[in-house]
Subunit: 430 residues, 2 copies
């Protein structure tokens, strides 16, 4: 077992790069990448870092040179032979050869494209431009680098035993969370915490602690590298970037209205079973469900990633019923701002009525709140999103207006096209 | 830094002997051993393990075979070249060549004598017989072995992450204790926790944490091996066994009454400065001080190891004053059942009036209370004492009748000879 505190102290970070592999990323990125590679390979996109926690002055906390060093290191990475073998040979969701040969050949030759980095006031402007399947792979490593460099700046000032006690406290906290989940019958929970993790070593520790502490209730991790190293299931399906980019590419309002279903139609052709999970909130959940084609109601489940999770799950249940489906056979994956109490209450509320499961993110892999003075290791809300596709702005509405993004005029147009009424704003913690 | 949890988990103990060196013992044992070697070499003594916490069924918790294995291992130890060099060449309390050549030659050839082990009900009878300077060196390793084997039986049932979290919690607790001592101006504190420690690796961790956390307020450790490895001061002076054995050897009541002063007279000839510390409670502090010769009042200080520490320190202050000494120049070493609150309040109460210092034992190196179910890692009150000298029983009265030992008739005789009146019983925690 890695002694994280000592590693942190000894190495002063020089020999521990933040991202150490092209598959140190979320599994759904690779699934989506293959889909994009097949269906929209030539789309030009721009991804941009967005710090929703504007009170965190990233450019003051993080040295630009160190940031460049880490980003350059990521650009030097390519798929290793063992990683390629694992992707080609492993069973994902019970299926062999999930990744097709043409995609794997492309991936084996991939290096991530150039980045654009500039300081703007106390924030960084960090953008990535190029072909969609290449640029999209920057999202997770870019977030992990920013999140961790901000932490390293704090850790670097700490002494050896202070560090060991910091990690001791954080370990105790994670373990107590795990103990708080142990007695839930039929719990199904996975690690979704790569992007805003404290560090790779820490995520790896959390994942292993989950495995020991929760046994079969722990279903796997979204992190491919950790899934490979620890022989766990890689977990994930798809994300907002697909409908966002498809929508941006749509010509006219009726094509726009159809875009989210086009995405899932492409997905339907490629995937079955547990990979057929609807993410309905990109442009508002209720309108999306109302207008959805019947074949979508036959999908395996739904992922709830914004808004009031209880309301979202109730809406899904009502929708399935209205389409003649049995909600108790449907999976509902909660993945927004989870922590023990929310997991417990959602499980309690929906177990039996649906098949609830949980994608536990930042408060699993980065709950360093209140462990150091000024709370300077607490996670914050950082995202890296597609902001443009073939020169057109992208939009996300979400079920929480605090998570909306895009130019104001486009947001208005999308709200009209997708018939989004009043929304309830909710704090975005992480 | 050693990852203790992993070491515990990986090795399943086979390659981590509990006692790994003849100097993995308290420094005062070696000082006393040299004194005994010089003054009472041929005395035959019996030391015996005494479990004051009779509710802990040691013989049920500890496998006799494992116990023999550890004790046999200790009998195989001899002083290494590096250890001998350190004892011969190091400066102790500012003095070079503290250990004389004849003693060192004897020590270099020493193997610990045989032990006698028998199960009696749910307890072990463990005794050591032979010449005093040899047998006395069994005390600390024997205690450490019993204390740790009882812990290992519990740890052996724990999984990898459970263990890591156990140590994380224990580390956090020690660190919080250290933080609770940091702001005390002029604090002077040493580790006295070898005998009832959780383990060697754990004591070593605690000592290093004390050094980082307390800086110059941490004056050193009683453990010679750790002092040597970590380049710290070895701390200690003398203990009850000297007056207990001298008293047992005394012919008649008047020789008995004189025995405690004979001990210190021999010590006075050998040592000066910080090594001239009176331990007055063996047969009751107040009678001891009252009848003490004037030259004893000139000693550097006193160690308070039983009874009410405030009362004991006040008695010492009054005594010094009555002998024309300035108490503010005297050292008072508190070493009985210390933890943060007691240390803080004693320091606050006596700083300036005397020079207080603290020998922090079991609740530094073995505070695993309430960390596992049934509290089965909590320390308990185990001692290993001289019970006979040249065929005569030894007696200890102490300032706490719960710490008294010896045959009832002898206890009565000693109480009469040393004029001990009513005593207040206090719980013995560790």
């Amino acid at each position: 077992m890695v002694d994280i505190a000592t590693r942190v102290w000894n190495h002063k970070w020089k020999i521990d790069p933040i991202v150490r592999s092209l598959i140190d990323t979320d599994f759904y990125k690779l699934l989506m990448c293959q889909s994009v590679f097949r269906n929209k390979r030539d789309t030009r996109v721009t991804f941009s870092l967005i710090n929703r926690s504007t009170h965190i002055p990233l450019a003051e906390l993080i040295d630009e040179g160190e940031l460049r060093e880490q980003l350059d290191h990521i650009r030097s990475l390519s798929l290793s032979r063992g990683e390629s073998t694992w992707l080609r040979g492993n069973t994902f969701y019970g299926k062999r050869q999930m990744f097709r040969s043409d995609f794997m050949e492309w991936f084996e030759n991939l290096r991530l494209p150039a980045y654009h980095l500039e300081r703007k006031g106390d924030q960084f402007e960090l953008t990535f431009e190029g072909s969609w399947p290449e640029v999209m792979l920057w999202e997770i490593p870019a977030l992990a680098v920013l999140m961790e460099l901000r932490g390293r700046a704090v850790l670097d000032q700490m002494d050896r035993f202070e560090l060991q006690v910091l990690y001791a406290r954080a370990m105790t906290r994670v373990w107590e969370k795990i103990e708080g989940l142990r007695d839930i019958p039929g719990l199904s929970i996975a690690d979704f915490g790569t992007r805003r993790r404290h560090s790779y070593l820490w995520q790896d520790w959390c994942v292993q602690a989950m495995r020991e502490g929760l046994g079969a209730s722990f279903t796997g991790t979204s992190n491919c590298k950790i899934a490979m190293n620890r022989e766990l299931e890689a977990i994930g399906t798809n994300a907002h970037e697909l409908p966002m980019v498809y929508a941006a590419l749509a010509e006219g309002d009726s094509a726009l209205a159809q875009a989210p279903y086009d995405v899932l139609s492409d997905w339907h052709d490629e995937h079955e079973g547990n990979l057929r999970i609807i993410l309905p909130d990109t442009f508002g959940t209720s309108g999306f469900l109302e207008k959805a084609p019947d074949w979508l109601a036959g999908w395996t489940g739904i992922r709830v990633d914004s808004g009031d999770p209880v309301q979202a799950a109730e809406d899904a249940i009502a929708w399935w019923r209205s389409r003649g489906e049995d909600p108790s056979k449907k999976r509902v994956i909660f993945s927004d701002g989870l922590d023990v109490e929310k997991i417990r209450s959602l499980h309690h509320q929906f177990s039996g009525r649906v098949q609830p499961s949980f994608g536990w993110g930042t408060l699993l892999t980065n709950d360093f709140r209140n462990l150091v003075p000024q709370d300077s290791l607490a996670p914050f809300s950082l995202v890296c999103k597609a902001i443009e596709a073939n020169g057109r702005p992208t939009v996300k509405l979400s079920d929480n207006p605090n998570k909306a993004m895009g130019p104001a005029s486009e947001i208005e147009r999308y709200k009209r096209v997708f018939d989004v009424g009043a929304q309830r704003a909710q704090d975005v913690i992480v």
